[in-house]
Amino acid sequence: MAQFLEALINGISLGSLYAIIALGYSMVYGIAKMLNFAHGDVIMVGGYIVFIVLNNMGMPAALAIPAAMLVCVALGITIEGLAYRPLRQATSLAVLITAIGVSYFLQNAAQLIWGANPRFFTIMNYGNIPVSLGKDQFNISVGKLCSVGVSVVIMLGLSFFTGKTKMGKSMRAVSEDRGAAELMGINVNRTIALTFAIGSALAGVAGAMLVGVYGVQLSPTTGAMPGIKAFTAAVFGGIGSIPGAMIGGILIGVIEILVGTFISTDLKDALTFAVLIIMLVVKPTGLLGKPIREKV
Protein backbone atom coordinates (compact mmCIF):
# COMPACT_ATOMS: atom_id res chain seq x y z
CA MET A 1 0.00 0.00 0.00
CA ALA A 2 2.77 2.41 0.96
CA GLN A 3 4.62 1.44 -2.18
CA PHE A 4 1.52 2.13 -4.25
CA LEU A 5 0.96 5.49 -2.61
CA GLU A 6 4.56 6.48 -3.09
CA ALA A 7 4.42 5.49 -6.76
CA LEU A 8 1.16 7.38 -7.18
CA ILE A 9 2.61 10.55 -5.70
CA ASN A 10 5.75 10.25 -7.80
CA GLY A 11 3.55 9.67 -10.85
CA ILE A 12 1.49 12.77 -10.19
CA SER A 13 4.63 14.77 -9.73
CA LEU A 14 6.28 13.48 -12.91
CA GLY A 15 2.96 14.00 -14.64
CA SER A 16 2.85 17.62 -13.59
CA LEU A 17 6.18 18.11 -15.36
CA TYR A 18 4.73 16.47 -18.49
CA ALA A 19 1.72 18.74 -18.08
CA ILE A 20 3.85 21.87 -18.23
CA ILE A 21 5.53 20.64 -21.40
CA ALA A 22 2.20 19.47 -22.83
CA LEU A 23 0.72 22.93 -22.30
CA GLY A 24 3.43 24.30 -24.60
CA TYR A 25 2.66 21.77 -27.32
CA SER A 26 -1.04 22.23 -26.94
CA MET A 27 -1.13 26.02 -27.08
CA VAL A 28 1.14 26.18 -30.10
CA TYR A 29 -0.86 23.48 -31.82
CA GLY A 30 -4.16 25.15 -30.99
CA ILE A 31 -3.16 28.57 -32.26
CA ALA A 32 -0.47 28.07 -34.88
CA LYS A 33 -2.01 24.74 -36.04
CA MET A 34 1.38 23.09 -36.11
CA LEU A 35 3.21 20.42 -34.18
CA ASN A 36 6.32 22.12 -32.82
CA PHE A 37 8.57 19.11 -32.85
CA ALA A 38 11.46 21.21 -31.52
CA HIS A 39 9.65 21.99 -28.27
CA GLY A 40 11.52 19.22 -26.40
CA ASP A 41 14.85 20.63 -27.54
CA VAL A 42 13.98 24.08 -26.26
CA ILE A 43 13.53 22.35 -22.89
CA MET A 44 17.02 20.89 -23.25
CA VAL A 45 18.45 24.36 -23.87
CA GLY A 46 16.59 25.59 -20.78
CA GLY A 47 18.20 22.75 -18.83
CA TYR A 48 21.68 23.78 -19.94
CA ILE A 49 21.05 27.40 -19.01
CA VAL A 50 19.97 26.36 -15.52
CA PHE A 51 23.03 24.14 -15.26
CA ILE A 52 25.38 26.93 -16.32
CA VAL A 53 23.85 29.58 -14.10
CA LEU A 54 23.62 27.34 -11.05
CA ASN A 55 26.70 25.16 -11.35
CA ASN A 56 29.23 27.14 -13.36
CA MET A 57 28.35 30.61 -12.21
CA GLY A 58 27.21 29.67 -8.73
CA MET A 59 24.12 31.83 -8.85
CA PRO A 60 20.94 31.01 -6.91
CA ALA A 61 18.03 29.11 -8.41
CA ALA A 62 15.89 32.23 -8.16
CA LEU A 63 18.07 33.65 -10.92
CA ALA A 64 18.64 30.46 -12.90
CA ILE A 65 14.98 29.79 -13.65
CA PRO A 66 14.14 33.26 -15.01
CA ALA A 67 17.37 33.15 -17.02
CA ALA A 68 16.34 29.82 -18.56
CA MET A 69 12.87 31.18 -19.30
CA LEU A 70 14.28 34.30 -20.96
CA VAL A 71 16.69 32.37 -23.17
CA CYS A 72 13.94 29.91 -24.13
CA VAL A 73 11.52 32.70 -25.01
CA ALA A 74 14.14 34.36 -27.20
CA LEU A 75 14.89 31.01 -28.81
CA GLY A 76 11.21 30.19 -29.35
CA ILE A 77 10.44 33.53 -30.98
CA THR A 78 13.51 33.24 -33.18
CA ILE A 79 12.59 29.72 -34.31
CA GLU A 80 9.04 30.81 -35.07
CA GLY A 81 10.14 33.88 -37.00
CA LEU A 82 12.92 32.27 -39.01
CA ALA A 83 11.71 28.74 -39.58
CA TYR A 84 7.93 28.62 -39.27
CA ARG A 85 6.63 32.04 -40.29
CA PRO A 86 7.86 31.76 -43.89
CA LEU A 87 5.85 28.52 -44.13
CA ARG A 88 2.54 30.00 -43.00
CA GLN A 89 0.85 29.08 -46.29
CA ALA A 90 2.72 25.79 -46.76
CA THR A 91 1.28 22.30 -46.29
CA SER A 92 1.32 20.90 -42.77
CA LEU A 93 3.73 18.17 -43.89
CA ALA A 94 6.30 20.78 -44.96
CA VAL A 95 5.92 22.50 -41.59
CA LEU A 96 6.33 19.22 -39.70
CA ILE A 97 9.50 18.34 -41.60
CA THR A 98 10.88 21.81 -40.89
CA ALA A 99 10.11 21.36 -37.20
CA ILE A 100 11.97 18.04 -37.16
CA GLY A 101 14.85 19.83 -38.88
CA VAL A 102 14.84 22.54 -36.22
CA SER A 103 14.86 19.83 -33.56
CA TYR A 104 18.01 18.23 -34.99
CA PHE A 105 19.57 21.63 -35.50
CA LEU A 106 19.13 22.47 -31.82
CA GLN A 107 20.51 19.10 -30.72
CA ASN A 108 23.58 19.50 -32.91
CA ALA A 109 24.11 23.11 -31.91
CA ALA A 110 23.96 22.05 -28.25
CA GLN A 111 26.51 19.34 -28.92
CA LEU A 112 28.78 21.88 -30.58
CA ILE A 113 28.49 24.36 -27.74
CA TRP A 114 28.32 22.12 -24.72
CA GLY A 115 29.77 18.85 -25.97
CA ALA A 116 28.17 15.42 -26.19
CA ASN A 117 29.17 14.20 -22.75
CA PRO A 118 26.28 14.09 -20.35
CA ARG A 119 26.52 16.36 -17.36
CA PHE A 120 25.34 15.26 -14.01
CA PHE A 121 23.61 17.68 -11.91
CA THR A 122 23.61 17.49 -8.19
CA ILE A 123 19.94 17.61 -7.42
CA MET A 124 19.13 20.36 -5.07
CA ASN A 125 17.83 18.87 -1.87
CA TYR A 126 14.76 20.70 -0.78
CA GLY A 127 14.08 18.22 1.97
CA ASN A 128 11.65 15.36 2.37
CA ILE A 129 8.44 14.86 4.20
CA PRO A 130 8.41 11.48 5.91
CA VAL A 131 5.10 9.69 5.75
CA SER A 132 4.33 6.63 7.79
CA LEU A 133 1.52 4.28 6.98
CA GLY A 134 1.23 1.60 9.61
CA LYS A 135 4.66 0.06 9.73
CA ASP A 136 5.57 1.22 6.23
CA GLN A 137 7.41 4.43 5.69
CA PHE A 138 8.28 6.52 2.67
CA ASN A 139 9.43 10.03 1.84
CA ILE A 140 7.80 12.65 -0.29
CA SER A 141 10.31 15.04 -1.82
CA VAL A 142 9.44 18.67 -1.27
CA GLY A 143 10.89 19.56 -4.69
CA LYS A 144 8.54 17.17 -6.45
CA LEU A 145 5.62 18.42 -4.45
CA CYS A 146 6.49 21.97 -5.46
CA SER A 147 6.52 21.00 -9.13
CA VAL A 148 2.91 19.87 -8.78
CA GLY A 149 2.06 23.24 -7.26
CA VAL A 150 3.90 25.10 -10.01
CA SER A 151 2.06 23.27 -12.77
CA VAL A 152 -1.33 23.88 -11.15
CA VAL A 153 -0.54 27.58 -10.86
CA ILE A 154 0.58 27.67 -14.50
CA MET A 155 -2.59 25.95 -15.67
CA LEU A 156 -4.83 28.31 -13.70
CA GLY A 157 -2.84 31.29 -14.95
CA LEU A 158 -3.17 30.22 -18.57
CA SER A 159 -6.88 29.52 -18.19
CA PHE A 160 -7.36 32.99 -16.80
CA PHE A 161 -5.24 34.52 -19.54
CA THR A 162 -7.07 32.86 -22.43
CA GLY A 163 -10.48 33.18 -20.84
CA LYS A 164 -10.48 36.70 -19.48
CA THR A 165 -7.85 38.94 -21.07
CA LYS A 166 -8.10 40.71 -24.41
CA MET A 167 -4.82 39.20 -25.63
CA GLY A 168 -5.90 35.73 -24.55
CA LYS A 169 -9.26 36.03 -26.25
CA SER A 170 -7.60 37.18 -29.45
CA MET A 171 -5.46 34.03 -29.28
CA ARG A 172 -8.62 31.95 -29.17
CA ALA A 173 -9.99 33.91 -32.10
CA VAL A 174 -6.85 33.21 -34.15
CA SER A 175 -7.10 29.57 -33.13
CA GLU A 176 -10.64 29.31 -34.48
CA ASP A 177 -10.42 31.29 -37.70
CA ARG A 178 -7.26 33.08 -38.70
CA GLY A 179 -8.86 35.02 -41.53
CA ALA A 180 -11.79 36.21 -39.45
CA ALA A 181 -9.38 37.21 -36.67
CA GLU A 182 -7.45 39.29 -39.18
CA LEU A 183 -10.67 41.00 -40.20
CA MET A 184 -11.12 42.05 -36.56
CA GLY A 185 -7.76 43.83 -36.78
CA ILE A 186 -5.87 41.14 -34.86
CA ASN A 187 -2.25 40.82 -35.96
CA VAL A 188 -2.02 37.07 -36.55
CA ASN A 189 1.78 36.91 -36.77
CA ARG A 190 2.20 38.76 -33.52
CA THR A 191 -0.38 36.53 -31.83
CA ILE A 192 1.39 33.37 -32.98
CA ALA A 193 4.75 34.78 -31.82
CA LEU A 194 3.19 35.46 -28.42
CA THR A 195 1.99 31.86 -28.27
CA PHE A 196 5.49 30.63 -28.98
CA ALA A 197 6.84 32.95 -26.31
CA ILE A 198 4.46 31.51 -23.71
CA GLY A 199 5.14 27.92 -24.78
CA SER A 200 8.90 28.51 -24.64
CA ALA A 201 8.76 30.16 -21.24
CA LEU A 202 7.02 26.98 -20.03
CA ALA A 203 9.76 24.96 -21.70
CA GLY A 204 12.28 26.95 -19.66
CA VAL A 205 10.47 26.10 -16.45
CA ALA A 206 10.29 22.45 -17.51
CA GLY A 207 14.00 22.40 -18.29
CA ALA A 208 14.78 23.75 -14.84
CA MET A 209 12.56 21.13 -13.21
CA LEU A 210 13.97 18.32 -15.31
CA VAL A 211 17.54 18.89 -14.21
CA GLY A 212 16.94 20.56 -10.86
CA VAL A 213 14.20 18.41 -9.37
CA TYR A 214 14.21 15.15 -11.32
CA GLY A 215 17.98 14.94 -11.70
CA VAL A 216 17.79 13.93 -15.35
CA GLN A 217 21.28 13.89 -16.80
CA LEU A 218 21.88 16.67 -19.24
CA SER A 219 22.86 15.90 -22.82
CA PRO A 220 21.86 17.33 -26.22
CA THR A 221 19.09 14.73 -26.54
CA THR A 222 17.71 15.20 -23.04
CA GLY A 223 14.58 16.96 -24.26
CA ALA A 224 13.51 14.34 -26.78
CA MET A 225 11.91 11.70 -24.55
CA PRO A 226 10.07 14.05 -22.16
CA GLY A 227 9.00 15.94 -25.28
CA ILE A 228 7.44 12.87 -26.86
CA LYS A 229 5.80 11.85 -23.59
CA ALA A 230 4.35 15.29 -23.10
CA PHE A 231 3.12 15.35 -26.67
CA THR A 232 1.41 12.04 -25.95
CA ALA A 233 -0.10 13.66 -22.88
CA ALA A 234 -1.36 16.62 -24.92
CA VAL A 235 -3.02 14.32 -27.45
CA PHE A 236 -4.39 12.14 -24.68
CA GLY A 237 -6.01 15.07 -22.91
CA GLY A 238 -7.26 16.62 -26.14
CA ILE A 239 -4.80 18.77 -28.00
CA GLY A 240 -5.62 22.47 -27.82
CA SER A 241 -7.28 22.17 -24.42
CA ILE A 242 -5.51 23.63 -21.38
CA PRO A 243 -7.12 21.45 -18.67
CA GLY A 244 -6.78 18.56 -21.13
CA ALA A 245 -3.01 18.98 -21.25
CA MET A 246 -2.93 19.03 -17.46
CA ILE A 247 -5.04 15.91 -17.00
CA GLY A 248 -3.25 14.13 -19.84
CA GLY A 249 0.14 14.95 -18.34
CA ILE A 250 -0.79 13.67 -14.89
CA LEU A 251 -2.33 10.48 -16.30
CA ILE A 252 0.68 9.70 -18.46
CA GLY A 253 3.01 10.32 -15.49
CA VAL A 254 0.97 8.10 -13.19
CA ILE A 255 0.68 5.30 -15.76
CA GLU A 256 4.41 5.45 -16.42
CA ILE A 257 5.44 5.22 -12.76
CA LEU A 258 2.83 2.60 -11.83
CA VAL A 259 3.81 0.39 -14.75
CA GLY A 260 7.50 0.94 -13.96
CA THR A 261 6.99 0.05 -10.31
CA PHE A 262 4.60 -2.87 -10.51
CA ILE A 263 4.98 -4.41 -13.95
CA SER A 264 8.32 -3.74 -15.56
CA THR A 265 10.64 -0.80 -16.07
CA ASP A 266 11.31 -1.98 -19.61
CA LEU A 267 7.65 -1.91 -20.49
CA LYS A 268 6.74 1.46 -19.03
CA ASP A 269 7.25 3.45 -22.25
CA ALA A 270 5.64 0.84 -24.47
CA LEU A 271 2.58 0.58 -22.23
CA THR A 272 2.27 4.36 -21.97
CA PHE A 273 2.08 4.65 -25.74
CA ALA A 274 -0.26 1.66 -25.92
CA VAL A 275 -2.68 3.51 -23.65
CA LEU A 276 -2.49 6.50 -26.00
CA ILE A 277 -3.31 4.33 -29.01
CA ILE A 278 -6.32 2.82 -27.23
CA MET A 279 -7.45 6.31 -26.28
CA LEU A 280 -7.21 7.51 -29.87
CA VAL A 281 -9.23 4.56 -31.10
CA VAL A 282 -11.96 5.08 -28.49
CA LYS A 283 -12.06 8.88 -28.52
CA PRO A 284 -9.97 10.41 -31.31
CA THR A 285 -10.30 13.95 -29.95
CA GLY A 286 -8.72 13.02 -26.61
CA LEU A 287 -10.33 13.36 -23.21
CA LEU A 288 -11.33 17.02 -23.35
CA GLY A 289 -10.75 17.78 -27.02
CA LYS A 290 -13.52 19.34 -29.04
CA PRO A 291 -14.46 17.65 -32.26
CA ILE A 292 -13.06 19.55 -35.19
CA ARG A 293 -15.90 20.94 -37.26
CA GLU A 294 -15.41 20.72 -40.95
CA LYS A 295 -16.05 24.05 -42.62
CA VAL A 296 -18.80 24.00 -45.17
Binding site: R172, G179, L183, M184
Partner: protein
Protein backbone atom coordinates in the same frame (compact mmCIF):
# COMPACT_ATOMS: atom_id res chain seq x y z
CA UNK B 1 -14.77 62.61 -53.31
CA UNK B 2 -15.60 58.96 -52.88
CA UNK B 3 -14.84 57.04 -49.71
CA UNK B 4 -13.76 53.94 -51.62
CA UNK B 5 -12.41 53.99 -55.13
CA UNK B 6 -11.21 50.90 -57.00
CA UNK B 7 -9.34 51.33 -60.29
CA UNK B 8 -8.69 48.64 -62.92
CA UNK B 9 -8.36 45.81 -60.41
CA UNK B 10 -6.93 42.46 -61.54
CA UNK B 11 -6.91 39.49 -59.14
CA UNK B 12 -5.55 36.00 -59.79
CA UNK B 13 -5.77 32.67 -58.00
CA UNK B 14 -2.61 31.08 -59.35
CA UNK B 15 -3.31 31.12 -63.08
CA UNK B 16 -7.02 31.74 -62.74
CA UNK B 17 -7.81 35.29 -63.70
CA UNK B 18 -10.75 35.89 -61.35
CA UNK B 19 -11.12 39.68 -61.54
CA UNK B 20 -10.41 41.18 -64.93
CA UNK B 21 -9.95 44.89 -64.51
CA UNK B 22 -12.92 46.26 -62.60
CA UNK B 23 -13.39 49.83 -61.41
CA UNK B 24 -16.04 51.10 -59.04
CA UNK B 25 -16.50 53.56 -56.24
CA UNK B 26 -18.59 54.13 -53.14
CA UNK B 27 -19.37 57.59 -51.77
CA UNK B 28 -20.00 58.45 -48.17
CA UNK B 29 -23.51 57.59 -47.01
CA UNK B 30 -24.31 55.39 -50.01
CA UNK B 31 -25.42 51.78 -50.25
CA UNK B 32 -23.78 50.30 -53.31
CA UNK B 33 -24.49 46.74 -54.33
CA UNK B 34 -22.47 44.33 -56.40
CA UNK B 35 -24.70 41.65 -57.89
CA UNK B 36 -23.81 38.67 -60.00
CA UNK B 37 -24.17 34.92 -60.39
CA UNK B 38 -22.20 32.23 -58.58
CA UNK B 39 -18.50 32.53 -59.27
CA UNK B 40 -18.76 36.01 -60.82
CA UNK B 41 -16.05 37.27 -58.47
CA UNK B 42 -18.04 39.16 -55.86
CA UNK B 43 -16.34 37.67 -52.80
CA UNK B 44 -12.95 37.91 -54.49
CA UNK B 45 -13.56 41.63 -54.96
CA UNK B 46 -14.49 42.25 -51.33
CA UNK B 47 -11.65 40.09 -50.02
CA UNK B 48 -9.19 42.02 -52.15
CA UNK B 49 -10.53 45.39 -51.04
CA UNK B 50 -10.13 44.47 -47.38
CA UNK B 51 -6.66 42.99 -47.84
CA UNK B 52 -7.29 39.27 -47.35
CA UNK B 53 -6.27 38.83 -51.00
CA UNK B 54 -3.90 40.99 -52.99
CA UNK B 55 -4.34 42.42 -56.46
CA UNK B 56 -1.93 41.64 -59.28
CA UNK B 57 -2.50 45.17 -60.58
CA UNK B 58 -4.81 48.11 -60.14
CA UNK B 59 -5.34 50.34 -57.14
CA UNK B 60 -7.64 50.66 -54.16
CA UNK B 61 -8.11 53.99 -52.42
CA UNK B 62 -9.93 54.35 -49.14
CA UNK B 63 -10.57 57.58 -47.30
CA UNK B 64 -7.86 59.36 -49.30
CA UNK B 65 -5.21 56.67 -48.76
CA UNK B 66 -3.77 54.07 -51.13
CA UNK B 67 -4.50 50.76 -49.38
CA UNK B 68 -3.78 48.40 -52.29
CA UNK B 69 -0.86 46.65 -50.56
CA UNK B 70 -2.04 46.82 -46.96
CA UNK B 71 -2.93 43.68 -45.07
CA UNK B 72 -6.34 42.86 -43.67
CA UNK B 73 -5.45 43.31 -40.01
CA UNK B 74 -4.59 46.96 -40.57
CA UNK B 75 -7.88 47.80 -42.31
CA UNK B 76 -10.20 47.70 -39.30
CA UNK B 77 -8.35 50.51 -37.56
CA UNK B 78 -8.68 52.56 -40.77
CA UNK B 79 -12.44 52.27 -40.66
CA UNK B 80 -13.19 49.51 -43.12
CA UNK B 81 -14.73 46.22 -42.08
CA UNK B 82 -15.82 43.12 -43.95
CA UNK B 83 -18.64 40.92 -42.74
CA UNK B 84 -17.48 37.83 -44.62
CA UNK B 85 -19.34 35.24 -46.64
CA UNK B 86 -20.50 32.38 -44.43
CA UNK B 87 -20.40 34.75 -41.41
CA UNK B 88 -17.30 33.21 -39.87
CA UNK B 89 -18.21 34.06 -36.31
CA UNK B 90 -16.03 32.51 -33.61
CA UNK B 91 -18.16 29.45 -32.89
CA UNK B 92 -16.56 28.46 -29.62
CA UNK B 93 -16.61 31.93 -28.10
CA UNK B 94 -19.62 33.53 -26.49
CA UNK B 95 -21.76 36.15 -28.21
CA UNK B 96 -20.23 38.83 -26.07
CA UNK B 97 -16.67 37.67 -26.71
CA UNK B 98 -17.36 37.74 -30.43
CA UNK B 99 -18.52 41.33 -30.12
CA UNK B 100 -15.46 42.22 -28.04
CA UNK B 101 -13.26 40.82 -30.79
CA UNK B 102 -15.09 43.07 -33.23
CA UNK B 103 -13.97 46.02 -31.12
CA UNK B 104 -10.39 44.75 -30.90
CA UNK B 105 -8.82 47.88 -32.37
CA UNK B 106 -10.95 50.32 -30.39
CA UNK B 107 -9.93 51.93 -27.08
CA UNK B 108 -11.03 49.99 -24.03
CA UNK B 109 -13.21 52.79 -22.68
CA UNK B 110 -15.37 52.75 -25.78
CA UNK B 111 -16.35 49.07 -25.75
CA UNK B 112 -19.22 49.36 -23.28
CA UNK B 113 -20.92 52.08 -25.33
CA UNK B 114 -20.38 50.15 -28.57
CA UNK B 115 -21.89 47.03 -27.02
CA UNK B 116 -24.84 49.11 -25.93
CA UNK B 117 -25.36 50.37 -29.48
CA UNK B 118 -25.10 46.91 -31.02
CA UNK B 119 -27.50 45.44 -28.44
CA UNK B 120 -29.95 48.20 -29.22
CA UNK B 121 -29.77 47.35 -32.89
CA UNK B 122 -29.94 43.59 -32.19
CA UNK B 123 -31.85 43.02 -28.91
CA UNK B 124 -31.71 39.28 -29.55
CA UNK B 125 -27.94 39.34 -29.11
CA UNK B 126 -28.27 40.86 -25.66
CA UNK B 127 -30.55 38.02 -24.58
CA UNK B 128 -27.95 35.54 -25.82
CA UNK B 129 -24.95 37.43 -24.52
CA UNK B 130 -23.39 34.50 -22.64
CA UNK B 131 -24.36 31.81 -25.13
CA UNK B 132 -21.66 30.08 -27.17
CA UNK B 133 -21.98 31.49 -30.69
CA UNK B 134 -21.93 28.11 -32.43
CA UNK B 135 -25.28 27.26 -30.86
CA UNK B 136 -27.09 30.31 -32.30
CA UNK B 137 -29.57 29.89 -35.13
CA UNK B 138 -28.55 30.92 -38.62
CA UNK B 139 -30.32 34.26 -38.43
CA UNK B 140 -28.85 35.03 -35.03
CA UNK B 141 -25.41 34.15 -36.32
CA UNK B 142 -25.84 36.62 -39.16
CA UNK B 143 -26.92 39.29 -36.69
CA UNK B 144 -23.86 38.50 -34.60
CA UNK B 145 -21.59 38.77 -37.63
CA UNK B 146 -23.08 42.17 -38.46
CA UNK B 147 -22.97 43.32 -34.84
CA UNK B 148 -19.37 42.21 -34.58
CA UNK B 149 -18.51 44.25 -37.67
CA UNK B 150 -20.27 47.31 -36.24
CA UNK B 151 -18.24 47.10 -33.03
CA UNK B 152 -15.28 48.61 -34.87
CA UNK B 153 -17.37 51.73 -35.69
CA UNK B 154 -16.56 51.45 -39.39
CA UNK B 155 -16.75 54.22 -41.97
CA UNK B 156 -17.46 51.54 -44.57
CA UNK B 157 -19.09 48.20 -43.89
CA UNK B 158 -18.88 45.51 -46.55
CA UNK B 159 -21.44 42.71 -46.37
CA UNK B 160 -20.86 39.51 -48.32
CA UNK B 161 -24.18 37.75 -48.90
CA UNK B 162 -25.81 38.49 -45.55
CA UNK B 163 -29.00 36.73 -46.63
CA UNK B 164 -27.32 33.47 -47.58
CA UNK B 165 -29.07 30.38 -46.27
CA UNK B 166 -31.76 32.27 -44.36
CA UNK B 167 -35.52 31.76 -44.40
CA UNK B 168 -37.45 34.47 -46.30
CA UNK B 169 -38.73 36.11 -43.14
CA UNK B 170 -35.18 36.43 -41.81
CA UNK B 171 -33.99 37.77 -45.15
CA UNK B 172 -36.58 40.54 -44.76
CA UNK B 173 -35.31 41.23 -41.28
CA UNK B 174 -31.66 41.41 -42.35
CA UNK B 175 -32.52 43.85 -45.13
CA UNK B 176 -34.51 45.97 -42.71
CA UNK B 177 -31.39 46.17 -40.56
CA UNK B 178 -29.28 47.15 -43.58
CA UNK B 179 -31.84 49.82 -44.36
CA UNK B 180 -31.74 51.17 -40.83
CA UNK B 181 -27.94 51.21 -40.80
CA UNK B 182 -28.16 53.29 -43.97
CA UNK B 183 -30.61 55.68 -42.37
CA UNK B 184 -28.19 56.14 -39.49
CA UNK B 185 -25.58 57.28 -41.97
CA UNK B 186 -23.51 54.10 -42.54
CA UNK B 187 -21.81 53.59 -45.87
CA UNK B 188 -22.39 50.07 -47.15
CA UNK B 189 -20.98 47.94 -49.94
CA UNK B 190 -23.36 45.02 -50.30
CA UNK B 191 -22.74 41.83 -52.24
CA UNK B 192 -25.77 39.68 -52.93
CA UNK B 193 -27.14 36.90 -55.04
CA UNK B 194 -30.59 37.99 -53.97
CA UNK B 195 -30.62 40.76 -56.57
CA UNK B 196 -34.26 41.72 -55.96
CA UNK B 197 -33.64 42.59 -52.32
CA UNK B 198 -30.24 44.13 -52.92
CA UNK B 199 -31.51 46.42 -55.68
CA UNK B 200 -34.49 47.53 -53.61
CA UNK B 201 -32.32 48.65 -50.72
CA UNK B 202 -29.34 50.08 -52.64
CA UNK B 203 -28.69 53.51 -54.17
CA UNK B 204 -26.47 52.30 -56.97
CA UNK B 205 -25.51 48.92 -58.37
CA UNK B 206 -22.83 47.18 -60.41
CA UNK B 207 -23.43 43.93 -62.25
CA UNK B 208 -20.46 41.57 -62.20
CA UNK B 209 -20.11 38.79 -64.79
CA UNK B 210 -17.12 36.44 -64.74
CA UNK B 211 -14.75 39.05 -63.37
CA UNK B 212 -16.00 42.03 -65.39
CA UNK B 213 -18.48 44.79 -64.67
CA UNK B 214 -21.08 44.62 -67.42
CA UNK B 215 -23.59 47.15 -66.21
CA UNK B 216 -23.91 49.96 -63.70
CA UNK B 217 -26.42 52.59 -62.71
CA UNK B 218 -28.92 53.66 -60.08
CA UNK B 219 -30.33 50.56 -58.39
CA UNK B 220 -33.86 51.70 -59.27
CA UNK B 221 -33.05 51.66 -63.00
CA UNK B 222 -31.40 48.23 -62.87
CA UNK B 223 -34.37 46.86 -60.99
CA UNK B 224 -36.52 47.76 -64.01
CA UNK B 225 -33.99 46.85 -66.67
CA UNK B 226 -35.14 44.00 -68.91
CA UNK B 227 -31.74 42.33 -69.23
CA UNK B 228 -31.18 42.43 -65.47
CA UNK B 229 -34.67 41.15 -64.78
CA UNK B 230 -34.09 38.27 -67.15
CA UNK B 231 -30.65 37.31 -65.86
CA UNK B 232 -30.91 37.97 -62.14
CA UNK B 233 -34.52 38.28 -61.15
CA UNK B 234 -35.66 35.08 -62.78
CA UNK B 235 -38.08 36.52 -65.31
Amino acid sequence: MSLLSVQDLHVFYGNIHAIKGISFDVSEGEIVTLIGANGAGKSTTLNTVCGLLHARSGSINFNGEDITRLKASSMTARGMVLCPEGRRIFQQMTVRENLEMGGFTRPKGEIAASLERVYKQFPRLKEREKQVAGTLSGGEQQMLAMGRALMSRPKLIMLDEPSMGLAPILVEQIFEIIHSLHENGSTILLVEQNAQMALSVADRAYVLETGRITMTGPAEDLLHDDAVRKAYLGE
